[in-house]
Amino acid sequence: MPAVTLLPVGDLPQSDQCAEKTRNSALSLLFVAHNEELLSFLMTRLSEAEAREVAQESYARLLRLDQLETLSFLRAYLFKTASNLSIDRLRHRATLRITQPQLGFLHELASEPTPEELTAREQEARLAASCLEELPEACRRAFLLYRVYEYSLAEVSHEMGVSERMIRYYVVQALSHCRMRLKASRCEQDAQK
């Protein structure tokens, strides 16, 4: 039972009096249906704050489209625009107010973290560090290069002399292991409460 129903993919009425109205309501449907996905998609590369900005900008651009298009086109256009904007962001990151998202959610904060927040983060970071330590050597190295140093799969594969398929496997392996450990430690903390 899908939580979000897929939008119809048919043509919208063209050159109609209420075409604009129809289109705008189609766009707001698109927004409702895909906002979460769009944010998730953007957050594979950007911080949450940046992802929200980019998502907004993408919708703004969509509204500026002159032509009426099919919803399937609009959806593709939305994600394409968002993708281009995120790539621009990554390129011009140095001049952005918000700093590097690849270092984790420290960046999510507009202001300086409080000592309590720092402590909580340090604990999670230590836990993450011990998770990574438990990984086999090659898996850990591949994951650190991919996650922390932002190498692409191809670059990690080149550095380590291992196939891209293998690197992908290592990344999935590392994430699965860390997720299991993080989850277990949360269970533990909840149990202590």
Binding site: F79, Q100, P115, R121, E133, V171, H177
Partner: protein, 370 residues
Amino acid sequence: MNDDPTVTSDLPRFREACEWFVQLREQPESTNLIAEWLSWCNSDPRNRQAFEEVRNTWLIVGLVPAHTGVDARADGSQIVPAARHTPPACRPGRIHRPYKLAAAAAAGLAIAAGIFWLLVPAPLSTSGSADVSTFATVPGEHRSFMLADGSRVEMAGDSRLRVSLRAQTRDIELQEGEAYFNVAHDRARPFTVHAGALHVRAVGTRFDVRTSADRVVVAVEEGVVVVEPRPEPTGPMSSMLSTIRSLGGDARPINRLRPLHVRGGQEIAVGGPEQDLQLLPIEPTQVSSWREGRLRFAREPLQSVISSIRGVSGQEIELADPDLGELRFTGTVFSSGVEAWVHALPAIFPVTVHRDGARFIIEHRVEPRG
């Protein structure tokens, strides 16, 4: 969290979500991929949930490099025993390694740190006639000047640097202290700051370097600098080498790694008591806040905090025991409020402070036995 204890049951879905995550990172511009991913998301709400979980894990794990060194060892003991209580069913089958002391976690990070110490060293360029000048400041002094190439240098107090401008290269040797560089763009003439165990290479950018003892901190305000190790037969680099060898790391791929790029909004710190490496986010506007008398530190060894304070304010602070220099301080020190800061130290660290003429002396606190 409303955790189902049988976390392993949705592992296949999580792994599938990981695959999507990686795929989307690799090809963010592929419209087909996005469409396929969307229909995967919509085919089952648990798919979306799994994808969110991947993202959260990704974010948390990304905190790792910012927190290396002794702290994982010191307090990790609270975390590792917790892991032992994990029901065996929660562990994925492939990972059977016994949980080690968290000390090993620090060691693992030393590998990450070590990667960048083993790069092909860039030799110091010495060709051509050089325009060499030396600059030094006294504690508390703040000097600003322009180099012949148009680059701007701002030196903190108690700092020493040597500038060699040649036709092909611009080399700055930061022998001690801290300086902020606003580099005049000249692609044909690399601008390199040599500090401690590092080379910091820039083209046109603004960044700050500070060094004390064998620790170097590079903070980038704008642009990108390339940080690589400086070839040194002894010292931090060779000790880093031995760290890695003792861990049985395979040196082959490490040697082929490229230099580390530090971008605007990032700060990298290497060396220090544990030979660690930290890569931290930093507000670009804070990069040279020392020029306004604000010193920001994130898990900085106390020894290095004290050197910075002396540079900026001229205040002498002495550690009665060198061990104290390894305590990590996070926070802001105002050069106008050094005295207050020193007096507040006993609230954070197990120390006492007393004054000796113009100096402050920091000692271990002796706990009364009772």
